[in-house]
């Protein structure tokens, strides 16, 4: 359940960047290949933000799909999880998108 640690990381980062601010909304980007489950973040958000500047804040998550490029045939494709293999059979790929795990913006009162 590292999603709890992830929410704690969000609380920490916001407190560091905007000390003392009362946050009303947090917008996160959690890519499909990030290793973090957005639903689990939603599940523990309320609990993990209790007593912090994010308490009561609305949580908005966008979930970019995974996108890879094959180094063998050059095509760009959306991988089927969990194996990041190209339809041509090659596993020699570069991940272009889907590994995002970031706070894009917050709203403050």
């Amino acid at each position: 359940m590292h999603e709890l640690a992830i929410v704690e990381g969000v609380v920490d980062a916001v407190a560091e960047r905007l000390p003392g601010a009362q946050v009303t909304c947090v917008r996160l980007e959690i890519g499909a290949l990030s290793g973090v489950v957005a639903d689990s973040v939603r599940f523990c958000f309320e609990l993990a933000t209790e007593g912090t500047s994010l308490q009561g804040a609305r949580l908005e998550i966008t979930e970019p799909a995974g996108e890879c490029r094959c180094r063998v045939c050059g095509r760009t494709f959306h991988p089927d999880m969990p194996i990041l293999a190209c339809p041509c059979g090659s596993a020699d790929i570069t991940v272009l998108a889907g590994q995002e795990l970031k706070i894009t913006s917050v709203m403050v009162a």
Partner: protein, 273 residues
């Protein structure tokens, strides 16, 4: 609750002194932090204000930025000191501690270990008995080590130049994959008493592995484990990972593991310099 690792009780770095726990020193990892090198707080952009007077602040910041910063400081410190650091991960019971016991005995004093477990100093006592310097980090409810805990452990352990430091992560194939500790390489153990499909089931973990040790090969005659299927799954998930077959119990195959370590270990600093 701990803001770093999400654990409820706060992680504690314990120095295990011989067999008895009376001489432990506790260092809360919450108090760690480098005296210098803390990056300045980054700026942020404000955009418009809405009808309620609320304003949006663009942050565009990685959630794990703080951990990544501390990991970079760990990595820098380890490189300057000339210490090879390995992040060792596996599911519980795959043989991490048994591998380290034998490695400690057979490398003769060059091994130092940071032990991560939710509770107890049992593993650290085993490593200590095998002849390696060790600190135990108990993560409480936490399911992984993070860079801050390792920084605390490094300060207590103070590994000498030219040593091999293995950070034995909490037994878990999910959460530790996300947290950079400042290691030079990641090693994942899978064992023949688990399913051969572990690489496919836990791709985030195996994708990052520089080396995969397939352990407990002495049990292959007694279990239904397809080594070739495991190797094929690993190649599909992580084509760049090297796989070695070993038995930490009998020592079979371990010379390749030691060679792998030695090739990466910096020579000890010359004390006369």
């Amino acid at each position: 609750m701990c803001a770093t690792c999400g654990c409820s009780g706060g992680a504690v770095v314990r120095v295990v002194d011989g067999q008895d726990d009376q001489n432990q020193h506790d260092h809360s990892h919450h108090q760690h932090g480098y005296d210098s090198g803390q990056p300045a707080v980054a700026g942020h952009r404000h955009t418009g204000t809405d009808a309620d007077g609320a304003r949006t602040v663009i942050l565009e910041q990685k959630v794990l930025a703080k951990n990544d910063r501390l990991a970079a400081l760990n990595r820098e410190w380890l490189a300057e000191r000339g210490v090879l650091a390995i992040n060792l991960m596996s599911s519980p019971g795959a043989g991490k501690t048994t591998l380290l016991e034998r490695t400690a005995r057979e490398l003769g004093g060059r091994l130092a270990v940071i032990e991560g477990d939710q509770e107890t100093t049992l593993d650290a006592s085993r490593i200590k008995a095998a002849g390696a310097a060790v600190v135990q980090i108990n993560t409480g409810a936490g399911c992984h080590l993070d860079a801050a805990m390792v920084a605390g452990g490094l300060r207590v352990l103070d590994p000498p130049s030219g040593s091999i430091l293995v950070i034995e992560n909490v037994g878990n194939l999910v959460c530790p994959a996300l947290f950079d500790l400042g290691e030079a390489a990641k090693v994942v153990i899978s064992s023949v008493t688990e399913g051969a499909d572990k690489p496919a089931k836990y791709p985030n973990m195996f994708r990052q592995a520089d080396l995969v040790l397939l352990n407990k090969t002495d049990l292959l005659p007694y279990v239904d484990f397809d080594v070739r299927a495991h190797a094929a799954d690993l190649r599909r998930v992580s084509p760049a990972s090297l796989m070695l077959q070993v038995s930490a119990a009998t020592g079979e195959g371990l010379s390749a593991w030691y060679d792998w370590l030695w090739r990466r270990t910096p020579p000890p600093a010359d004390p006369d310099r």
